[in-house]
């Protein structure tokens, strides 16, 4: 029976994405005669993904409420975005981006991803204010733009802890030449503006302050970055009705608790080669979440229009012992456990200008208690820890 339900939802989702696409294409066509000061452009992905496991559901990141199992699922990776840039003066630019993707409330309802004003008083200094993308990790602010990267989606073991995509706030970036290389530093501060799905509930983290910064070194083919960011959660997890004692609820409180995100990244791009190495270290200051370490390596080699790639990622978290001896508390705490490694193999085919077709296999092998990245966890909170994920995407920009 779930098949009929899934099919219906699938069809409705596809219909909405297509309709939105047609509307946006129409808008883009009308804007074609823009002058240099105004532009309307967009990006999108049509994706299908299936796994080899019905034990739990595979999602792109923790912002999605439901995910893929053994049937092909178009919700996980499909996305459509359209962006307007308006250059008001040579130094001032306004940017608005609308995005439709499968989100926390199980809909494709379009949302305003960015809406900010950018001011460049000098070629070395940039200030932005409004709704901005967050760079918690390198490349994190272009995770939805499939055309911009090699893989079908950002590497899961590294990026799927990042349900935050934007802040309402500001950032400042300074670029300084260092010989023939360039050093760029950036600081940001703002408030989160989203909800996160938790089982059949939603956790509102809107208003949670987020802050961070990074230093980046760019020279020829190299890009190296060290970054730090944090969020101080506002609101507790929606744990009412689980039968938790007042002590249990207090123990699992996250309101006012901070999470720290440290990361190092190295990118190398020269000729047909592309390499990426990223490492992160996440410290959770609440009892409800486990602190974790993760990392990945990715290598691609272009042969004409085809770029085959291989990658490997690893993530694990440290369980806490202080469960108060309460099985319900322990169960909630186990939900944020991570211990798995993923082998990635795929190919990107640049079919025609501005269109790429990708196919990828992810072999996930982990501990049966590695539950955090998934949805619809089994009742006993154990699974086989083995899942193969098959994905195909069509990425485009216009």
């Amino acid at each position: 029976m779930p098949d009929i339900d899934t099919m219906g939802r699938w069809r409705r989702c596809c219909g909405r994405v297509l309709l939105a696409g047609l509307m946006l294409c129409g808008a883009a066509a009308r804007a074609e005669h823009h002058d240099a000061d105004f532009s309307l452009r967009g990006f999108g992905t049509l994706g299908a993904v299936r796994t080899t496991s019905d034990e739990l559901e595979f999602v792109r990141d923790l912002s999605q409420a439901r995910g893929a199992t053994t049937g092909w699922d178009a919700r996980v990776d499909s996305v459509l975005g359209v962006q307007a840039n308006w250059r008001i003066t040579p130094q001032v630019e306004a940017v608005v981006q609308g995005v439709s993707r499968y989100r926390y409330d199980r809909t494709f309802r379009p949302e305003i991803a960015w809406a900010f004003v950018k001011y460049d008083p000098t070629p070395a200094l940039t200030l932005r204010g409004g709704r901005l993308g967050t760079e918690f990790f390198m490349l994190a602010d272009s995770r939805l733009v499939g055309y911009s990267y090699l893989t079908v989606r950002p590497v899961g073991d590294f990026f799927w802890h990042l349900p935050f995509s934007s802040i309402d706030g500001g950032d400042v970036a300074l670029t300084v030449p260092l010989g023939e290389a360039v050093v760029r530093g950036k600081l940001f501060y703002g408030l989160a503006n989203t909800k996160l799905p938790l089982a059949d509930r939603q956790w509102d983290i809107g208003g949670s302050p987020m802050a961070g910064g990074h230093v980046e070194y760019q020279s020829d083919a190299w890009q190296l970055r060290a970054s730090y960011a944090n969020i101080v959660f506002k609101n507790d997890l929606p744990l009412g009705g689980l039968g938790l004692s007042p002590e249990g609820l207090a123990h699992l409180a996250v309101d006012g608790k901070r999470s720290d995100y440290y990361s190092l990244a190295a990118l190398y791009e020269r000729g047909p080669w592309q390499f990426q190495l990223m490492l992160n270290h996440i410290v959770q200051h609440s009892n409800a979440f486990e602190s974790s370490d993760g990392g990945y390596v990715l290598a691609g080699y272009r042969i004409g229009a085809l770029t085959p790639y291989l990658g490997y990622s690893r993530v694990y978290s440290r369980p806490r012992d202080n469960t108060l001896g309460d099985p319900t508390v322990a169960a909630v705490m186990r939900d944020s456990h991570l211990d798995q490694r993923t082998t990635i193999a795929g190919v990107r085919w640049d079919v025609m200008p501005n269109v790429a077709l990708k196919a990828q296999w992810d072999g996930i092998r982990g501990d049966g208690g590695s539950l955090f990245p998934y949805r619809n966890d089994p009742a006993d909170r154990r699974w086989s820890g083995r899942m193969d994920v098959f994905s195909v995407t069509l990425d485009f920009i216009f």
């Binding site: 981006q97 000098t122 901005l132 272009s142 760019q218 000729g271 229009a305 640049d350 920009i397």
Partner: protein, 142 residues
């Protein structure tokens, strides 16, 4: 005999004229005060990493449309990348809200006009097309 001589000289001419297309060079506005740039500085300007000349003037790059084969040649020689990769790079910069790609024009003549109209203008043209409006600051390797 004369015919053979003609044929030989024709063959000689064909061999002497390089079958490869003419050399691409990076040019700036002749009044910019910039005399020479390194490969890394050209990369920094065209990829938007840093757009200021040594004298403080802002560098204002102009690019060619994809349809112009010189665009593919330029990026292939500069960084060994295909146009799909260059366009992927700019889609990341654009849709992350960081910056827009340099403006594109259709022809070399428009590149030269654009550069002469912008004090910090910089673009790439065939060496033989570089005229008094611009100064050659970097030669792309063959």
């Amino acid at each position: 005999m004369r015919r053979i001589g003609l044929l030989l000289s024709l063959l000689f001419c064909l061999a002497a004229v390089p079958p490869a297309r003419a050399e691409l060079v990076v040019v700036v506005n002749a009044r910019s005060g910039v005399a020479v740039l390194s490969r890394n500085e050209v990369i920094n300007i065209f990829f938007g990493r840093y757009r200021q000349y040594f004298n403080g003037l802002e560098a204002q790059p102009v690019d060619l449309a994809d349809a112009n084969p010189e665009r593919a040649r330029f990026y292939q020689k500069l960084v060994g990348k295909d146009l799909a990769e260059i366009n992927a790079y700019w889609s990341r910069q654009l849709f992350s809200g960081r910056m827009q790609a340099p403006p594109k024009v259709a022809s070399t003549e428009e590149v030269l006009r654009w550069i002469s109209a912008h004090p910090g203008g910089i673009g790439y043209v065939e060496l033989s097309k570089a005229d008094a409006r611009v100064r050659v600051v970097y030669e792309l390797e063959h």
